[in-house]
Symmetry: D2
Subunit: 457 residues, 4 copies
Amino acid sequence: MANILRNKRFENDVSNLTLDFVESISFDKRLAGYDISGSLAHVTMLSKCKIIPKNDADKIIKGLKEIGLEIAEGKFRFKTELEDIHFNIESRLKEKIGSVAGKLHTARSRNDQVALDLRLFLREEVKLQIVQIKKMQHILLNIAEKNIDLIMPGYTHLQHAQPVSLAHHFLAYYFMFQRDKERLTETLTRINVMPLGSAALAGTAFPIDRNYTAKLLNFPKIAENSMDAVSDRDFAVEYLFDASLIIMHLSRLSEELILWSSQEFSFIEINDEFTTGSSIMPQKKNPDICELVRGKTGRVYGNLISMLTIMKSLPMTYNRDLQEDKEAVFDSVDTLEKCLEIYIAMLPKIKFNEKNMAQSAALGFLEATEIADYLVREGMPFRDAHSITGKIVRYCLKNNIRFLDLDIGTFRSFSDLFRDDIYEHVTLTQSVDSKKSFGGTSFKNIKETIRKEKGRL
Amino acid sequence: MANILRNKRFENDVSNLTLDFVESISFDKRLAGYDISGSLAHVTMLSKCKIIPKNDADKIIKGLKEIGLEIAEGKFRFKTELEDIHFNIESRLKEKIGSVAGKLHTARSRNDQVALDLRLFLREEVKLQIVQIKKMQHILLNIAEKNIDLIMPGYTHLQHAQPVSLAHHFLAYYFMFQRDKERLTETLTRINVMPLGSAALAGTAFPIDRNYTAKLLNFPKIAENSMDAVSDRDFAVEYLFDASLIIMHLSRLSEELILWSSQEFSFIEINDEFTTGSSIMPQKKNPDICELVRGKTGRVYGNLISMLTIMKSLPMTYNRDLQEDKEAVFDSVDTLEKCLEIYIAMLPKIKFNEKNMAQSAALGFLEATEIADYLVREGMPFRDAHSITGKIVRYCLKNNIRFLDLDIGTFRSFSDLFRDDIYEHVTLTQSVDSKKSFGGTSFKNIKETIRKEKGRL
Amino acid sequence: MANILRNKRFENDVSNLTLDFVESISFDKRLAGYDISGSLAHVTMLSKCKIIPKNDADKIIKGLKEIGLEIAEGKFRFKTELEDIHFNIESRLKEKIGSVAGKLHTARSRNDQVALDLRLFLREEVKLQIVQIKKMQHILLNIAEKNIDLIMPGYTHLQHAQPVSLAHHFLAYYFMFQRDKERLTETLTRINVMPLGSAALAGTAFPIDRNYTAKLLNFPKIAENSMDAVSDRDFAVEYLFDASLIIMHLSRLSEELILWSSQEFSFIEINDEFTTGSSIMPQKKNPDICELVRGKTGRVYGNLISMLTIMKSLPMTYNRDLQEDKEAVFDSVDTLEKCLEIYIAMLPKIKFNEKNMAQSAALGFLEATEIADYLVREGMPFRDAHSITGKIVRYCLKNNIRFLDLDIGTFRSFSDLFRDDIYEHVTLTQSVDSKKSFGGTSFKNIKETIRKEKGRL
Amino acid sequence: MANILRNKRFENDVSNLTLDFVESISFDKRLAGYDISGSLAHVTMLSKCKIIPKNDADKIIKGLKEIGLEIAEGKFRFKTELEDIHFNIESRLKEKIGSVAGKLHTARSRNDQVALDLRLFLREEVKLQIVQIKKMQHILLNIAEKNIDLIMPGYTHLQHAQPVSLAHHFLAYYFMFQRDKERLTETLTRINVMPLGSAALAGTAFPIDRNYTAKLLNFPKIAENSMDAVSDRDFAVEYLFDASLIIMHLSRLSEELILWSSQEFSFIEINDEFTTGSSIMPQKKNPDICELVRGKTGRVYGNLISMLTIMKSLPMTYNRDLQEDKEAVFDSVDTLEKCLEIYIAMLPKIKFNEKNMAQSAALGFLEATEIADYLVREGMPFRDAHSITGKIVRYCLKNNIRFLDLDIGTFRSFSDLFRDDIYEHVTLTQSVDSKKSFGGTSFKNIKETIRKEKGRL
């Protein structure tokens, strides 16, 4: 990693232009806390291994802790001319304790230091987002629990297909987030690997104890190859991908909430707290949050592509291109956190217009499958049953009536397999409740799923 | 999922234009084997659950097996007008066994059927790619084992930084592929979930036994929500991402092999089998395979973006957009398989020009860190040691000499901490071997890593 | 560009694995016609410049023309072992006319040859797509012309905002495609540049006449730097971007047609010719084509990213990575052509449900802006007028009435600026027709736009 | 566009969470100057058209100008609770001049206002970047002019292919930037279209004069459809694409400069001003700027994908998703500007190591093409000449000699077409200078190109 505080080899001064171009302190100051934690662990290990005297280590530790406090209290002055967070802190340390500060960087390079900081940061953020996703799942389970009996049209191709319970619909999202949580958890094991001790790229000749540092920093695993360790950003790309899938799921939910908020659907009302009006059309109540979340899918995908592009065909080992990793990661972390936070607040307050959903479900011959299934149960091959049902639908459309309006004679004119009990099968409630196959929308299934998942969470 | 073999509801014929636009048989015929396996399991379950008579089931099973044979022998005629693989097979079944064929589709929809086929396909392919990656890792271990003593310059910023063992360099790639294998293995658990039984979107009223079907098809897990099951393509996007990271790693390796093949580096010679010449410049020997692999990174990234774009803001449940999943998945699967295959063949035959690597490592004052570390061990703070070493480098550059050419007096003119043993530290071999920290490039470390990883594979 | 038919320098045979990996004939055979055209022009120039004897040139020309015929008639046997289209044709030429065939490649390299072929291909395809877009625009103008009086809700945030003419809505798309046409036309000027004569990378010592070849091939411009010419694929990336914007526009239109086809909107009916049904739900009529076009946005975006990734940090000049350009370009060309073709067929047959649109427009207090504007015209600052209108809407919502139901006294209780003529302003027709600002939805504006644009097309 | 300052329709207060989520002032404050310019033009037009009294207009104009000054002087307090730049300014205006401020928003919506601001911003930035690119081209011409005689290896596949002039190499980049300039110029015509007057989406009933406003704001063209105008971001995506190609070109140049800075190439030395050292390896001199520019390709590509994703399948007209356009545009604008700026400063100070380039060019039988061409000129078909040259190269490799070392007898043992003048053709200078075809690397060509392009710039 580059060092703007260059040694005496350079004849010319670095220009301000260069300084402004290469500095990262404007964004990596966010890592300050992690940088200090890492340094504290490093110096404690150096002392324990007798690489530096305990006396010096104590001075460094005291200095670092004071600096940590200065930063926490907003008193620290970050300087662009000191380029990055590592030098800002080290330089302040020197001001405080003199040249002994220079011993902190023994057996360390900025290459392994910055990899450490980013891993510490992401470890904490990913843990937070796992918690957020659990909250999201809780809310989805609660919505489901309250709306088991609420029947709505189930869609394929955005066409009415079969009636489903609103609970079933929201449980679908529950399971999407379940996968997201799994992925984040797995990514966490690859984030949670300590690079420190890899030094510039080759390891170090000092008799360091990486296991001890790892223990201090709570890392279950240590990077096994120093060259890989300083040039690896797979864990960051992987997080950016996990984030992309999460916001993709949120974009799907957002799209539905936007549709359902339209005058044509009128399935839901989003609480005023979470909508905005129009500067020229006073009657408007816009689902801005859903739109913004949907729009933010763009930036999260963009960050993924950004990082994949950076890594493409990058030779070993550390290259300055890698400095570009941080802003992409920060942006996706922040975006996702905010999107989850506001959904967690907004979702529980959504009002479902049960009546409109039911009215809508009454359109579109949603019980057609029941008729076909009825015939199949009577022994007719599915394809024939399907064909006859199609004829019945056509008849109803032409006469502008519904299945329930057909008398039994008419039913039997299509197939004499129909008997009086056909009327029991062509109601929405019966249609929903009949889907008793595991994973299906029957009320019993839904209740069982909610019960089980509440236990699991 | 749409059905071009539409029932009687439609007054007009579907136009050929539409048929050509919506057909998928031109690419999904590749799923034929999986479609038949899925149908065999489904019908066996239908019969076991007495949803269709055993007699009918036996006819269907016999017919499907015959069709499987026809396809395997290249005798099956795929028809565009039958739109997709599912209808092509069902239609042939009807030709063979008559209208009883129509019973196969009982309690099933193309929505869960196509999800099943894609999962069966990916399950097999991912398992294959895990095997390929293991082979790749074996080769990397072998290369490492044969080249422990081969010293080359270690790079940061494509500048000589510190000498490393070639083995250490290749082990870095070994660990990248280790992570790739982990990711694929985890993705496999999310691929390996059976959607069948979700029917169109809501589940089915037939008393099916999904666990039995899952057992027949060797699925450890069943999709828990029918709406999610028919609209979920997360597993496919996730594979496309895993593939992106794998080819990103290959692109990094390719870039290095291309650099090393250049006249300026001349570190390696790729076997003639794997290079091509030029139509106008007869002396050329081009690393085409490495270039093509590097270039193919584009299509694998592109497929990922393609699928992420498709899924963005797609409402529930099945939408025809999802038909676009297959070609992206097929293309990344094939690309990756071919790239891994040719690398597995090419890598073991690469000849390393030990002499050139060593000569190159002799440039660039690669042992500078040793000098700085020497001073640190003598008690000087790292930053001061670093500064003094810079002065020595500047002196050497000005006088066009190497560290070993400095007499002890000159060394001591920079710092009187230098003693005669300094000369032991400024050789390449000593520099490499001194990096004994865990994960560092010392010969002992490398040997130990190779031993351990050979056991692990 | 690499040559698999390598000369005698190579000791080993190229392996089949390599051949399969590097071959491009499986896809670049599509360029056969352009390759022959390019060769015909090249050899004609060589003869004219006396670089090869006229006699030899005539033989080559005759041979090439015969090969062209063989290909056109499907009699040509493409061979993988001959790697690419260029060698397949040259090899066949040799079979036909003997070693004089070898003179064709004088002063040429596959590097400039393949760049030429791709440019010739794209030139023709882009011209075709410009024609398709014009057809699309014609159809949009026709739809607009037939539906000037059809009033529908205009949406912002998918909420009813202000009433607009359906014509105005479709004209918005007309202008999007206008920009697409402009971009394609501009891209065409950058495609339409002849690279031939750049040879491998440095130009040639033969006294060729590039202007003459350009004239024969109808190129207005010649590449000015040979190194740029053989490594430049900007024109291809640029086309892939143009295609991305076009399909983005189509995805927006598709999304609207899908929404409008839903039972909840019921604004349109897509002709049966262009929809499909369901295998399990016989009543379904799915807007599959719109969904597929929306889904195909993914692959077109993906191809763009693919090519951008390929080009990233590629050093000079030709690198084999560039072989990956063709499939991305072919796929976007074909996808776009098919999408435009089917929309051109489908759009004119869409039936608009005027009644449903009008009913929908009657919801949502779409005339609110008129009330605010009324007050402004009476001298009230816009923000105050806006605030008062908000109060009126709230009053109407609470009492479940519409603006027209308010008596004048009630109006005046909100502001005494209201007079009897307020009722003239709160009708949908008046609201639409009042927007007479240039570009607004007034009927007169629309008519004028249609007239003008019909002339322009 | 949403309005957080909602009217009285809303019963509940907007939560702070929502405010933080939807606010844009934290980034769109950058548009302040353009927002004021747009408002000044708008109010001037309103007054001219007698839509508001001249007296009121004067007050508004005076107020706006004062606010402009406050912002310029850093005295303006931007408030998050006022959500965006438009409301921040309008609210301050009200503080200054009272409720007459509310008249400013007559016949305008934030939907057309924000589109205007972004267009004004991009118009200025694109003009600036065109100027920067011209500067870049000047520098490339200067480098070329100074290095016409400097011969270096020309590469294909990163292998030595044919010798070229360094000038020729840099002129290749000149022509890439020429295309970039063309594209920016064309994009500018599509940016330079005034949306104002489209109001919320349908136009306005006020008798505005859009041509007058356009004249005041220096727009040559007015948006022709109000619905398109408020939802169109094509111009922004197009800029993001142009930026992607520009940085792609910079990434290619960067890659080469990084390669050339390596110890193995040693073709160039980047001035100390623009390089950095290492914190642990004092001898390092890293091409950080080139690496960072190469890395920044990721974010510029990412921004393009971000915006394409946002626009995918977005229905008419304004949707809040569009708020996400600004940060992507700002980031690419800033990134590109900085990258160009630093290259403009860095490039002229690069020192070319003529000796190393020449030595390198002497490797690799770069004159092989000359031998093949020699035989062709003597009447041999190119393919045969190519084959014989291959044999000569093999002979030289085996005997470890160069072409010039072969005696004439040996030459003639391969073909009796060789005569004494063959030695004139196998020198690097002669090889370079022989490429006299238009666009080739001959010295005369290069001089002529530099002369012509200097005139053109």
